[in-house]
Subunit: 359 residues, 3 copies
Amino acid sequence: MGDAFLKAQWYVAGWGTDLAPGETLARTYLNEPVVLWRSETGAVHALQDRCIHRAMQLSAGDVDGEILRCPYHGLEFNGEGRCTRIPAQDRVPDTARVRHYPLVERQALLWIWMGEPEDADEGLIPDYPIHEDPAFGWRSAHYPVKGNWQLLVDNLMDLSHLPYIHAKTIGGNPDLHFRAKTNSQKLDNAVRVTREMPGSQPPPTYVDAAGFTGLVDRWQEIVFEPVIIRIHTGACEEGTGAYTNGEYGVHGANRFSMCGFHGITPETETTTHYFWSMATNRTEDGMVEEVFAQTARTFQEDQDVLESQQVRMEQFGNAPLIDIASDVGGRHTRQFITRLLKEQEMYRKVSPQRDTEPA
Amino acid sequence: MGDAFLKAQWYVAGWGTDLAPGETLARTYLNEPVVLWRSETGAVHALQDRCIHRAMQLSAGDVDGEILRCPYHGLEFNGEGRCTRIPAQDRVPDTARVRHYPLVERQALLWIWMGEPEDADEGLIPDYPIHEDPAFGWRSAHYPVKGNWQLLVDNLMDLSHLPYIHAKTIGGNPDLHFRAKTNSQKLDNAVRVTREMPGSQPPPTYVDAAGFTGLVDRWQEIVFEPVIIRIHTGACEEGTGAYTNGEYGVHGANRFSMCGFHGITPETETTTHYFWSMATNRTEDGMVEEVFAQTARTFQEDQDVLESQQVRMEQFGNAPLIDIASDVGGRHTRQFITRLLKEQEMYRKVSPQRDTEPA
Amino acid sequence: MGDAFLKAQWYVAGWGTDLAPGETLARTYLNEPVVLWRSETGAVHALQDRCIHRAMQLSAGDVDGEILRCPYHGLEFNGEGRCTRIPAQDRVPDTARVRHYPLVERQALLWIWMGEPEDADEGLIPDYPIHEDPAFGWRSAHYPVKGNWQLLVDNLMDLSHLPYIHAKTIGGNPDLHFRAKTNSQKLDNAVRVTREMPGSQPPPTYVDAAGFTGLVDRWQEIVFEPVIIRIHTGACEEGTGAYTNGEYGVHGANRFSMCGFHGITPETETTTHYFWSMATNRTEDGMVEEVFAQTARTFQEDQDVLESQQVRMEQFGNAPLIDIASDVGGRHTRQFITRLLKEQEMYRKVSPQRDTEPA
């Protein structure tokens, strides 16, 4: 499992705030070393992080106006990777260019297209309006995960691990989680897992945030769309319509929502960029910070698990494992990813000439 | 040399005191990751350190009564590796089990059987009554060796390195060592090397411990039995029968004995667990501690040698080396190990279906 | 590129001062682990750093008079690698020898011959009289470079990187460098690159050292001879004959010279020993120290570049790169090295029995 990448996808490359005007940033995505840079007027670009002259890392270079200059011999490149100047040489040959990756800044995120540049369609970038919704407050982070990206997908699609890994943080009572019915649906380009916990005792955070005095109707909604996951958890007062039409919280009273964005970008076969944000509709009294801090602690616990799994996955290769009942959402997601990987394989077979990335 | 393991053997897995009730311990033996754990009532168990569900390391889990619980999704395993509970699921399938290694606690040691579990015969565990003999005092240690296990066997079977590596600790005069005749015997399931140094000046430690005032008859006796080594060194007053019947020290006067136990357990092809204890029959006036501290210093010197050899062994592979006269005991032991490895190979060929360990 | 070595060459093994009488030094050259040692009377020797008995590193041993003693079992070796004593054994077999590398101390340098010992001709050792010339003062260093040796050759043969990498140290004005005409000549067993900058404003260091008050005629002369590079930079007062007969500085007035010696010795395919010295004819007022300190800062900047290139070279293998105009000297040198490697390859084919180094 897991040593293949979906190439023709928009991936989260980082947060817009990672990159100030005039700065460069070296990151690896899908095993490809990339330099992200922002011109002095604010445009963002992504190029292969290797000068076409002597393989120097361009990320060590300088942004000057709208170009990026190699620090070794001073070659200059524009945002499309074309060399625009070679010192002490009049003509710049056509071969003097480095690979260019489409990069779009939207809703606080930087999105990079890892397929063929000419296939990039900005209309396919996942929408995440919460980052721009004044009704929500949020904070973001970037965690380096020492595990294959599919282990992180598994982790997020099946929250039945909460009472164990997160026993000391957000876990709560195992029975509560296991009584909740898990429903997993395969959608056109997504997998949606929902769990409803009607008539529950609200956890302390919920009481703090929304001032619940009685029981609540809680929900968890997890949606995978390649290659991000949106998780919406929350509660309304019991019996006020929390679950109406499957639009969790929209119709209920005194809604408390925590909306997690999870950008999952493979770095290598064994490491993953995890770009996440946590938003809440309760923005008073430091709730945004509290919810973020609690989530950060929780996700740290997950890092240890993923690293532990990765070690054994590498040692044992494809030795058999078993599924359990709560894996339904994760299994649907795996099946979906496997289908996408197969389609990609078939596409490569019919158009092999396009498969030109350096090995 | 050295990149093969003897599978069907009892190996020292650790000291009983390494593992308190309710604790887990992750160790690798013969390249296989194992979790050792002790139940809350004190029973010791060894399982493959990989949950059959999502490959999580069980050593990160919790002991609860007589079971070990996976920290990721809460699966519970008993001492035989059988899953006894899967949360949110009524039926536990028969395939929900992890590999079990027979583990026995005896004479202060934990012994693990690395062959097929059904072949484990506790009667084959090497006997070491000194750990329970009130006439002896002893201390123990666990050294991680950065070298192949056979390099450690070589090191212990040929003590002619004492005057060089241990010149600053227990070495003493090279001539004394080289005048001593080395006798090496191949026994049924062992190799025994002896050296006698009659009429020697006793070393300072010997004088401190036994109060020798004249010359002594010294001996060294080294016995390899797969895969431990017992080393008995000591002296009696000269001419009082130190060597009678080859039972060193039994019949002589004012005996001083140092008895070393050396458990040699391969961790990987290039690293070894070295579990050793040092006992003496002179238990007054801090002699137990002094003898142990001196030995510990000496063995640290050996670690550097083994690591240095390992580096070159990896670089030069099977490039030729030569034997010298003092290698006789080591050579007998190598021949014995080679014979055991060949027998193992033949056995595997006639019963290949049993060879089911993960690669 | 770059993963081949020129074997039949004298390489710089170190500085004479690296090795005091009675000392050993472990270094790897061309992937071969070597022990350098100096006998108590001052003779220098180089042997394979692996005892023929049990592969112990001889560099951990002791020099005793004119022999080197293995620290494990006390075998003794002379400067030619022949074992002269095996403890507790009368006869020393003829096979008891380790590989010997011819090692010569000359002009403050230790030179090692990495080809077949019988082919070593001391007459081929590059001459560097400046190290013994009282008109010059100099200092030396040994830098470990995390890059293939050919990257370092490239770096030194093309100084057009000065205004970029060394912008903050010795770089100066890019235009000045690019206006200078680069002349590259292929000689019999060398490549010589020269650049002349007549009528230049002298840099601050030049003014400090030579007290120039007007313009100067500057030069750079870079000569590659396998496998060292000599770089002579400097200036005379304008129009006084700085360039006469291509003997830079000999015929001009108020000469200021900086003479760099660069010994480039591959350690592995991906790391290089860089032994360099910087000499100047202006030895008063701390100029020797000032010139050395400035150069040391500059070369540190180059280390980062070479390491950065190496990372990408390993990732991208033989993926295409382009040459630019200023590469002419570097390209000539590459062509020369490639020719030498091909000759070596042909020679091996006709005499394969000599190719006996351990893999």
